[in-house]
């Protein structure tokens, strides 16, 4: 690969959230990215190049990044007078790697919930898992609504350095998606001892039992690579809504589905029976520090 790989970013059915996420990157990292890669085209950022320029050129691009779900239905979306599907089909042949940026580009995401258009799909549905891109590398899905900006940068840097990246069953980079959102959550001690949060708006307690938190079954490094270099949803008290998994968005996201008081789904990799036994035992402990307020300034 040349010293300064060329990056083209296009947008289809999107809310612009992944672009906003990228722009919220750590500033030093973002500047480094701009120095070491050439962002040839981005609909919100580049000034001298238009999408038409890109489409009419014969140039090869190292990275084709796609934000948003694709549709061939021109009733609901045309870009430069073409369908988003047609644009991707054209550009993929001229690109070394194709990366779906965000859940919408990966599998349709929120936009696939618009039932009047039954043709809202992710990139791999158009170009295939074994994509026709020049390197022959599988289509890479960076799921997340939005995707974490570091996940984009680390994927680009890794491909630049190594030429390929190991993917999981959902075509996501293993290094970024092997962790669960649960890993690194500051509420983990509450999870271990089955101390549930009494309500929203508290530092104390686990959000898994009542508030619908998907941390223990969601592949994502949100609590390992913090958002905005600062925090994560679960750290502040918002349950994980599982936005990196292909069943997002689900129904009743802010409550835990239960059968006879037992969560319908248990943490990944453990049988329900084992989980219940463990819960029973953990609950027999009365751990004083987990019962009261974490910070009591009147002490």
């Amino acid at each position: 690969m040349r010293n300064k790989p060329k990056v083209v970013w296009i947008q289809a059915l999107t809310c612009n959230g992944n672009t906003q996420s990228l722009l919220s990157s750590n500033a030093s990292r973002f500047e480094q990215f701009l120095n070491q890669f050439e962002l040839v085209y981005h609909p919100s950022l580049t000034h001298h190049t238009t999408l038409n320029d890109v489409l009419q050129s014969n140039a090869s691009y190292d990275f084709l990044l796609i934000e948003g779900a694709l549709t061939s239905n021109t009733q609901f979306l045309t870009l430069s007078d073409q369908s988003s599907t047609a644009i991707v089909e054209k550009l993929i042949k001229r690109s070394h790697y194709v990366i779906a940026v965000g859940s919408c580009a990966s599998y349709g995401g929120v936009h696939a919930k618009f039932e009047h258009n039954d043709d809202v799909v992710g990139v791999q549905s158009v170009v295939g898992k074994k994509s026709a891109c020049k390197s022959g590398h599988d289509t890479i899905n960076l799921t997340g609504c939005p995707v974490h900006p570091e996940w984009i940068l680390q994927t680009l840097y890794t491909l630049k350095a190594k030429g390929n990246i190991a993917l999981d069953d959902e075509q996501r980079p293993i290094e970024l998606y092997s962790h669960l959102a649960h890993h690194g959550c500051t509420r983990n001690e509450y999870f271990e001892w089955k101390v549930e949060s009494k309500s929203f708006g508290l530092k104390e307690g686990c959000l898994f039992y009542e508030q619908g938190c998907r941390g223990p079954m969601t592949h994502s490094s949100c609590n390992k690579i913090l958002w905005n270099d600062t925090s994560s949803k679960t750290r502040v008290g918002m349950p994980c809504i599982g936005c990196t998994e292909t069943d997002f968005p689900r129904e009743n996201m802010l409550e835990t589905k239960k059968n006879i008081g037992i969560p319908a789904e248990v943490p990944l990799g453990i049988s329900k029976r084992a989980y219940l036994s463990l819960t029973g035992i953990a609950k027999t402990f009365k751990i004083e520090r987990l019962i009261g307020k974490l910070i009591d300034e009147n002490r």
């Binding site: 059915l13 809310c15 612009n16 959230g17 906003q20 996420s21 722009l23 990157s25 750590n26 500033a27 973002f30 500047e31 701009l34 962002l39 609909p43 919100s44 950022l45 580049t46 000034h47 238009t50 999408l51 038409n52 009733q75 609901f76 045309t78 870009l79 430069s80 929120v110 936009h111 919930k113 618009f114 039932e115 009047h116 609504c145 939005p146 309500s199 929203f200 708006g201 508290l202 530092k203 913090l226 958002w227 905005n228 270099d229 600062t230 925090s231 994560s232 949803k233 679960t234 750290r235 502040v236 008290g237 918002m238 349950p239 968005p249 129904e251 009743n252 996201m253 802010l254 910070i295």
Partner: protein, 451 residues
């Protein structure tokens, strides 16, 4: 003569359809061809799921959508006669989130969206404003990503958090968290002072005359120089009617039709789709030319957004600029920049009144999904202006959801001679370059316009 141009760098894409006569625009249509159908997606969903869906209508102003949803859901309780308590702390943490979102968006808009065009059209373009390369462009990215950390301290992340919920907020920040939030606000104030206006913010906030423009230094000075060179104080005028939908964040709800601010009646806000594509038709009727709807108050178009807010709020500097230059591109850009200072100061005041010992969240007595039938409306000022959410709950599910976004007010379609706000501002211009800058002065967001 007719020309059709595709406009990018507006958070999506739009088509600018201009009709020329004697080298001037004598008819203009703005086409938005992207439709995602959020209102349809929400039908049949659990009411609280709206908190997850609506921020995703727009990745740029997700917090505004979240707050509008929360306000609408809380209004559902009110209309069902169920008492709800929301603490002052929760209200501050919500509005603070919105303020941070607006501030970082204004910074990005100025450097990433409007300055590159004005700079490129200048006789003396400066490389510090060059997208992706220029020092001032890069500093803007740094400043906007830094202040977003303040939001992440209590919202977990940005974009796309849903930390607000009927009854309060999900977070419970510590004293130190909030001190850190203030540190980031102060850092942004320092950025505003050093890079944008070249003077202390307190001094900036005392500016009150058009002549005071001469006192400005920093990048605003460059902007002004280029603007006067390109006569941006003389173009972009529309109806000179302004509309502000909410008092939150210290704004002043009201409308200005002739001169003074007056109250408005919510039921006079009417949305229609005379020019809007039909959902169930592959071949659209001739008069329909895009996915944007039209919204009017009392059958008149009104401009919404930072300029409208400065006008109803009587912020002196912008009022004087408006007196001199009307609702021109220059006034509109200055209103947006001026709002950064106003909001940073408001954020400081809010932080000083925040009582961290209050409850973050007080659970409503009944869950929304247990309410058989109710309805609610939520109003909020988003980055680009008036935002309204309205929903009906039936048998515990969302029966219908309607959203009127700021860009529907400003960019929604009209037809000769009753043009929409931005459409009217385009009439009479004498180049595509001017038309692009005028259109951009409304902070166009295609995804927000069509949602």
């Amino acid at each position: 003569m007719k020309t059709v141009d595709i406009i990018e760098r507006i958070e999506g894409e739009a088509k600018l359809n201009l009709h020329w006569k004697n080298n001037r625009v004598n008819d203009a249509y703005i086409e938005f061809l992207n439709f995602r159908g959020f209102e349809y997606m929400l039908e049949g969903k659990a009411p609280l799921d709206a908190l997850v869906y609506t921020p995703r209508m727009c990745g740029i102003c997700g917090q505004a959508h979240l707050l509008a949803t929360v306000n609408a859901l809380e209004d559902c309780y009110k209309n069902a006669n169920i008492e709800l308590h929301v603490t002052a702390k929760a209200k501050i943490l919500r509005e603070l989130g919105l303020i941070i979102e607006i501030v970082q968006s204004h910074i990005k808009w100025f450097y990433f969206f409007i300055m590159p065009d004005i700079n490129a059209a200048s006789m003396t373009p400066r490389k510090e404003f060059e997208p992706l390369k220029g020092q001032q462009w890069l500093k803007a990215q740094r400043a906007s990503s830094e202040i977003t950390k303040a939001l992440a301290l209590f919202a977990g992340q940005w974009p796309h958090t849903s930390y607000m919920v009927p009854g309060g907020v999900m977070c419970d920040p510590t004293h130190m968290d909030m001190i850190l939030v203030e540190n980031y606000i102060d850092q942004t104030i320092a950025y505003f002072e050093k890079e944008l206006v070249g003077m202390e913010m307190q001094n900036y906030l005392t500016l009150s005359q058009t002549d005071d423009l001469k006192l400005l230094k920093g990048d605003i000075k460059s902007f002004l120089k280029m603007s006067f060179e390109q006569s941006l104080e003389k173009i972009g005028q529309s109806y000179n009617r302004f509309f502000v939908i909410s008092d939150a964040c210290g704004f002043h709800k009201g409308k200005i039709r002739l001169k003074n601010v007056s109250k408005f009646e919510m039921n006079k806000i009417k949305e229609h789709d005379d020019f809007t594509f039909e959902l169930n038709s592959k071949i659209q009727k001739k008069e329909k030319y895009g996915w944007a709807k039209t919204v009017k108050y009392d059958n008149l178009f009104y401009e919404t957004g930072p300029l409208a807010r400065a006008m109803t709020q009587n912020r002196r500097f912008i009022k004087q600029l408006h007196k001199t230059y009307d609702d021109s591109v220059l006034t509109r850009v200055m209103a947006r920049v001026d709002e950064i200072a106003y909001l940073l100061q408001t954020a400081k005041t809010m932080l000083h009144t925040l009582d961290i010992s209050e409850e973050s969240y007080i659970a409503p007595k009944t869950a929304l999904k247990e309410i058989n039938s109710t309805f609610g409306t939520g109003f909020i000022e988003a980055t680009r202006g008036a935002l309204k959410h309205e929903l009906i709950i039936h048998e515990g599910k969302i029966k219908s959801y309607d959203v009127v976004t700021p860009t529907v007010w400003n960019l929604g379609p009209g037809e000769k001679p009753d043009y929409g706000v931005a459409q009217k501002a385009l009439i009479g211009l004498n180049s595509l370059q001017e038309a692009t800058i005028v259109l951009r002065s409304f902070d166009v967001c295609s995804v927000c316009t069509t949602h």
